[in-house]
């Protein structure tokens, strides 16, 4: 689509710019400011250059949290994207089932994140939880407060439960946007179910799936409230993700300098990976469409 060049369009963008500048640029400058200083008190600060950055880059605990975070986000994407697409494919196309499916899918998305944690505590506790009680009755030893593996399984179950509906909703939107003519053409060509998915539905869903992958990557990489409520980062440090560790440094220990340097590196990693995903997904399958 060719758009006319019009510099006056800037005036329409200006309110957004001012608002985001207030809530993003000023705080971000504060973070940059902290990251190069050692702060003792309100008026006592020393310029320390890149010291905090070197500290952060060589910190073993941050490395551990980073790998943990990558593993977590990787698993989230590997499970939620295919599952969400499958749910979208299975959803009814018309009739009352559509409204019911959409409402049910959207429900977990509108629960405050710490309440998600609370729901899963109530659900998995061996004494009062349905899942915990059932597992106990089946004689399966399961304890997400004691075993790191079990804590991870519970977290993943919670995360998949919580966010797969978003992927399904987006994929469903992509499917609905495919005109019937495409299916008719596929039928005339004698395409198999798989071929229809691979050459009609999947390419048409590329846009919404790009958004789904980006949103899921970002939000799983920034996860805080749910593991904080459910496991508190434990047992040990086994579920201490980047945000949990960052808040621990910034608010718990009040180490402003290292926390700020950590923040900047954290932000840059998210940016880099989001950009990479965006580029890859924009180019994947581009040549196939005619």
């Amino acid at each position: 689509m060719d758009k006319p060049v019009n510099q006056k369009a800037w005036f329409m963008v200006l309110p957004v710019l001012l608002l985001v500048a207030f809530s993003a640029i000023i705080p971000l400058m504060t973070v940059v400011n902290y990251s190069v200083q050692d702060i003792f008190g309100p008026n006592e600060r020393v310029f320390v250059g890149t010291e905090w950055f070197l500290d952060v880059l060589t910190s073993q605990r941050i490395h551990d949290a980073l790998w943990r975070q990558f593993l977590f986000s990787g698993l989230v994407l590997l499970i939620e994207i295919p599952l969400g697409v499958m749910i979208a494919l299975a959803m009814p196309k018309k009739g009352w089932g559509v409204s019911v499916s959409l409402v049910l899918l959207a429900l977990p998305l509108l629960i405050p994140w710490n309440v998600i944690g609370t729901i899963w505590i109530i659900f998995t506790r061996p004494d009062i939880g349905l899942l915990g009680h059932t597992l106990q009755a089946l004689d399966i030893a399961f304890d997400h407060t004691g075993s790191p593996l079990h804590a991870w399984i519970t977290l993943m179950a919670m995360e998949v439960w919580h966010w797969t509906p978003l992927v399904a909703l987006l994929a469903y939107a992509g499917l609905k946007a495919i005109p019937d003519a495409f299916y008719q053409a596929a039928r005339i060509d004698g395409a198999s179910r798989w071929a229809v998915f691979r050459y009609v539905q999947l390419p048409k869903m590329r846009g919404v799936l790009t958004i789904a992958v980006l949103l899921r990557f970002m939000d799983s990489f920034l996860i805080y409230a749910e593991p904080f409520v459910l496991t508190g980062g434990g047992p040990g440090n086994s579920t201490t993700f980047l945000s949990i560790y960052l808040v621990k440094i910034a608010v718990g220990q009040f180490d402003l300098g290292p926390a700020a340097a950590f923040s900047i590196i954290y932000f840059l990693i998210v940016l880099l990976f989001s950009w990479l995903f965006y580029q890859v997904l924009q180019n994947v399958g581009r040549g196939e469409r005619t």
């Binding site: 689509m1 504060t30 429900l107 405050p112 909703l169 939107a173």
Partner: protein, 285 residues
């Protein structure tokens, strides 16, 4: 053979009755049951007293009681949390839409200096870890005397909601043919009149979907909302954590408070469900 059979499995085939049970439908129903199970469990807990919960295990409340809910609705420190949350979420949704609609129009209709960079930069704010902004926000809002106000939380949440709103709205607006703009100008509409009378109604479902997403992300966020408020504007999610730790763990009360946090969301979904189906169907969200 598959040449004829396979396409029949697609939605378009009219002979297939929707009552027929296919494996995919069974799987879908199983999925929905699993999806609702944790929520159902919290609901049953909320209808039981704490003593009842701790002494007996039951799949449904045998002696259902509304005591937990009554306690929440009669205790000001509990119900004010809900009011606070609703105020700042509404404020945030309003502000986000107000600034995002013109910006999205500019992005979808015109090219201008630095448009692509600006768009990507806006999106980067959606990717910023809220934990990063914790301390700077606290300082910034302290400086301008906004700590513990609904405005502070609404502004802080616009950090991620405004970019998202611009993003979604731009998608919807690009789906509206440009001929509509041009026809309106030929018919002698001024820009503001065209925008309010013709363009906005055309993307009403898009605005509905955007409002839904803004509501959702502001309603569920806790970290910033909790940090920027102390007493007056404290959100319900924070009230839950504090009150529970102060009184010991009253599971029934906690569950009832949790159920009540789902209610506004469920209401919003119910109102936008037709928009949502139609809006999502417009694609490109």
């Amino acid at each position: 053979m598959t040449a004829i059979e396979a396409p029949m499995n697609l939605s378009a085939a009219p002979r297939r009755k929707s009552l027929a049970i296919s494996p995919a439908k069974v799987a879908l129903i199983v999925y929905f049951v699993l999806l609702m199970l944790p929520i159902y469990w919290m609901l049953t807990m909320s209808l039981r007293t704490n003593a009842d919960i701790l002494t007996s295990f039951a799949f449904y409340p045998e002696r259902p009681t509304l005591g937990n809910y009554i306690k929440i609705f009669t205790d000001q420190s509990w119900y004010s949390g809900y009011i606070n949350s609703i105020i700042y979420v509404t404020l945030n949704t309003g502000v986000s839409l107000l600034v995002a609609i013109p910006a999205a129009y500019a992005f979808s209709r015109y090219r201008f200096l630095g448009d692509k960079h600006l768009f990507f930069w806006l999106l980067t704010n959606r990717m910023a870890p809220p934990a990063v902004f914790l301390l700077p926000f606290f300082q910034l809002y302290s400086t301008v005397n906004l700590i513990d106000t609904h405005i502070a939380v609404a502004l802080a949440h616009s950090l991620f909601n405004v970019p998202l709103a611009v993003w979604i709205l731009e998608g919807f607006m690009s789906g509206v043919p440009k001929e509509i703009d041009e026809t309106a100008y030929i018919d002698g509409y001024s820009f503001p009149r065209f925008f309010l009378r013709i363009f906005i109604p055309n993307i009403a479902s898009g605005i509905g979907v955007t409002a839904f997403f803004c509501f959702m992300f502001s309603w569920v966020e806790l970290l910033l909302a909790r940090t920027l408020t102390t007493t007056v504007a404290k959100p319900i999610a924070a009230v839950m954590t504090r009150t529970v730790s102060a009184t010991g763990l009253d599971w029934g009360l906690l569950a009832a408070a949790g159920v009540l946090t789902i209610v506004p969301g469920a209401l919003v979904i119910w109102f936008v469900r037709n928009y949502m189906a139609k809006g999502f169907a417009m694609g490109r969200v």
